[in-house]
Symmetry: C2
Subunit: 178 residues, 2 copies
């Protein structure tokens, strides 16, 4: 179902700033998923991504300990689910059981891909220097997937307090910028 | 013309991932401006922002040396200008002379605000540890401005090679998430 996404094209999905889901999995435990909007590209290829996972989040300790996660980009029609995921904790909720998300096995990391998402990025933590100061992880995307059924899906952009903007009109302007 | 934007609301403009302009100003020189899409929030308040400025950019050395910049969020109708700014260098182009942008004095930093932008963030560099590794600067926004005439303006999101998505439909979903 999911198809390969060339690593050199990962930035084209992160740079626009979509709301993402982050999956993690503690050894011997069920996978967890959180909503994440604080992320940016650090390098094109191999794709390096910086992201902030609040220390209060259940995912924080797991990400730090296992050094693995999946960043998944949900389509806009999952806005309700994405919001609910952000409003509960993996401490007391088995989110993959409660919410209509399909965990699929990843190739290089333990946490699952999310079948309903447009893009899935298997990531390994490469640098934790900024974790103590800013809860910021430096990730390398080691494998990327796209869902061909969702190639035209819109993404969500969070403006705070459950207010989202959806992707609108697309324009192309001649540019040498990658 | 520009009005105060409370610092606690800065994240609402950066988190959605808009294309931004970054102004810098070397001591005794004219200001410069570049296009920047790799940025993210690091903390709500005071607002901390991480951003990547490629070492090949003329702005890189100035930002590193002066420790000051302004992040400005342009409205979508400036897409052509924003793209052209990204396709030339301050090394050989006086961009504020060539492009229809109005530099306005900032309150706490030397680089100018951009009068035509929706939001302007006066920033100081607070951490350069990640500059050598990832060209990443940690900024604190010390003062923020909004343009009341552009409160409803759409922003740009870059998907690579001059392909931009504009803000589309807005939705609100009940949420406790800030």
């Amino acid at each position: 179902m999911l198809k390969d996404l060339p690593l050199g094209r990962v930035y084209q999905h992160i740079e626009p700033g979509p709301v993402t889901l982050l999956t993690t999995q503690a050894t011997g435990k069920k996978p967890n998923v959180m909503t994440m909007s604080w992320h940016m590209m650090l390098d094109f290829e191999p794709p390096y991504i910086g992201c902030v996972v609040g220390a209060a989040n259940h995912s924080f300790a797991t990400l730090r300990r296992t050094g693995e996660c999946v960043i998944a980009i949900p389509p806009a029609d999952l806005a309700e689910v994405v919001t609910k995921i952000g409003n509960c904790s993996g401490r007391d909720t088995d989110k993959f059981a409660v919410f209509p998300l399909t965990p699929l096995p990843a190739r290089h990391v333990a946490p699952p891909l999310v079948g309903e998402c447009i893009v899935n990025l298997e990531c390994k933590v490469r640098d934790t220097y900024m974790v103590n100061r800013y809860n910021m992880f430096v990730l390398e995307c080691v494998k990327a997937w796209q869902n061909p059924n969702l190639a035209a899906a819109k993404t969500l952009h969070h403006q705070g307090y459950g207010r989202f903007t959806l992707d609108g009109e697309e324009i192309r302007i001649k540019s040498k910028m990658r």
